[in-house]
């Protein structure tokens, strides 16, 4: 086979392989089909949903100086609102940016993102269901406190510190789960068909008793108490390095063979690095100039030698 025929054949094969790979790549985008809530109004989520992790847990805002800024996205420094410390929010999704900062997405109070480290996880009804699913009964173990409408205290889960007053028509509401706690209190979970399945637990023994009345010695369940944390001097903002661990899996190498997954934030550059980089560039350029001058003189001598020989 002639050389040019071989080259043509190789080029055809390569073009074919690349066409096939390109078509395959174009159809190989990750298809995500699940039934969990997805915040489709969130442009950032829409673009980076594959990198976001479903959380769906309750957190209590606990940021520096008593507030936390809610940003439009982990990469846009646009403040949507300010959340006060102590506010309970449901974190729907999390996202880890290139600097290792973990961001939390909420859409209950307002839609936006805030650094996850500015909130503490609190014991929630989800945790309660997970911890006690074996002890929860779905049979009618005990009767409701009454048949008509009465005022009761709602709890998110048996043993919750927080409660709020509400009117319940026990003739209308369905009681779908039953639970007896360690102190022997009987609890019923109210199910409202039209509201979905929010967590409304009522202590059937004493529907108007507060946490202190029910558990004078505490419940033994984890209860969140907000404590003041220490933070770095500079607040975390989108597009800047946080104090979290860097994951940087995607940018390890590049087309030129550099290592660059640990880029430095402009505000926090170690001056030593600048000195080393700048000084070395100048030093290497100077050395090279010297070597080029030397090369020129070598070549000149060589030429003279050759012309002398001739």
């Amino acid at each position: 086979m002639k050389k040019h025929e071989l080259i043509r054949k190789i080029s055809r094969i390569m073009a074919g392989v690349f066409a096939a790979v390109t078509v395959f790549a174009s159809v190989s985008t990750v298809v995500k089909a699940d039934v969990i809530y997805e915040p489709y109004n969130d442009d950032f989520y829409k673009k980076y949903h594959a990198e976001c992790e479903y959380v769906n847990e309750k957190y209590c805002i606990n940021g520096p100086r008593g507030v936390v800024q809610l940003f439009k996205s982990p990469i846009e420094d646009e403040v949507i609102t300010v959340l006060d410390n102590g506010l309970n929010v449901r974190v729907e999704y999390s996202y880890v940016d290139d600097f290792g900062t973990k961001w939390a997405q909420i859409d209950s109070v307002a839609e936006g993102w805030f650094p996850m480290e500015y909130a503490d996880k609190v014991y929630s009804s989800d945790d309660f269901w997970n911890d006690h699913y074996k002890e929860i009964s779905y049979e009618g173990d005990f009767a409701a406190p009454g048949k008509g409408t009465m005022t009761v205290l709602y709890y998110s889960f048996p043993g919750d510190v927080n409660c709020y007053e509400n009117e319940v028509d026990f003739g209308d509401v369905e009681i779908d789960s039953f639970f007896t706690d360690d102190c022997g209190h009987n609890w019923g979970h109210l199910y409202y068909e039209h509201y979905g399945a929010p967590d409304y637990w009522v202590c059937f023994d004493n529907p108007n008793a507060t946490y202190e009345e029910l558990y004078p010695n505490g419940t033994g369940l984890f209860h969140y108490e907000m404590t003041e944390k220490t933070y770095s001097d500079e607040d975390i903002h989108p597009g800047k390095r946080g104090s979290g661990d860097s994951n940087g899996e995607d940018n390890k190498g590049n087309s030129n063979g550099h290592f660059a997954d640990n880029t430095v934030e402009m505000n926090g550059i170690d001056p030593m690095l600048i000195w080393v980089a700048g000084g070395s560039v100048v030093f290497i350029a100077t050395i090279t100039t010297g070597l080029l001058v030397l090369l020129k003189s070598f070549r000149k001598k060589e030429e003279q030698k050759r012309s002398g020989n001739k």
């Binding site: 690349f18 673009k47 590049n254 290592f259 880029t263 600048i274 080393v276 290497i284 070598f298």
Partner: protein, 377 residues
Amino acid sequence: MISIYPILHLLVDGICALSMYSYFMDGDKAMMYILLYNLCAFALQMPFGVIADMLPGRRRYDKEKHCMYLALIGVLVTIAGSFFSPIILGIGNALFHVGGGTAAVHDDKWKNRRGLGLGLFVAPGALGLFLGSTLYNSEDADLVFLTFRLLSILLCLGLVYVWYYHSEERKVQTKLKLFDPIQIKKYNDDSKKKEKPVFAQKFTKGQAVMACVLCLLVVIIRSYVGLAVNFSWKEGVWLGVMSALYVCFGKVFGGFLGSKLGLFWTSAISLCAAAICFVFADVQAVGLLAQLLFNMTMPITLTLLAQYLPGKEGFSFGFLSFGLFVGFLPAFFGLTIPNGCEFIAGIMCVLSLVLLLPVLRPENKAKSESSENTEAK
């Protein structure tokens, strides 16, 4: 012999990535180590390139030999550096690149292949780097490391073997031909033809300086864009493999098309197409194509500068590698292109083409002038 260098390139870059991620990327000094490694591996290629040009001997035989020695020393120093320090690792890498790269430049010149050999040489580096950075935390990382080192040493031995075989063959041929005066004349004429670099055109000092500056700027832009653009779809090992393959084949295609269509058309087509692709780079396949097209200019700039600096092939290769280091610095200090702004890379492509045009023109002019002269004769 020249085909062994690309495989060695993959292994050397793989060893460097494995060592950096396994040993030198933890702790407070990680940033300093990254900087020092890149400094030694890329910036030091410039003085090493001049040293390669200073080595005695003007014949192809001598140049090939010197390049081979440099590359061999580079491989051995890299292996040594992988045990001790990122600085030694970088120096080894730089020596290997200068040796292999200069050999590829010479080979391309003698065979009149405008960038084909260079494209083949530079391409596997991205793959080696990807393999090293992916496999360093695998269960069999030690085995991979050992395999890379052993294969490198074996290939070095292979290189030496091929070299001596080649050298002996040449001697025998020369001896045979020396007996016949007609054959001697024919042999001498042939070897003169073969050994005369095909595109050793004369350029003025001003043209050469302009070529240096413009090619350097193009390389700095390419290096920066390669680091600063973060594609939103680039996640997971599979897409990492795809990305590395596209970068690798981009360089090969660049060399291949450069030798077929010429440097001007290859640059114009690849950079215009890359600019369009970068605008729609949030689509995975288009983003991958953009990477392929953008990297096609790598062998082009290397070949182009080697044309402008005849007799300084080592320096031209090292000088542009120095540009890679300069382009790395802004991204290292945090100046990246934000997600969704890939069109900036498209603008950079257009800018690269604008910068390349003045230095691509003389080649065409000279070509047309030489063809006119031939026709006149």
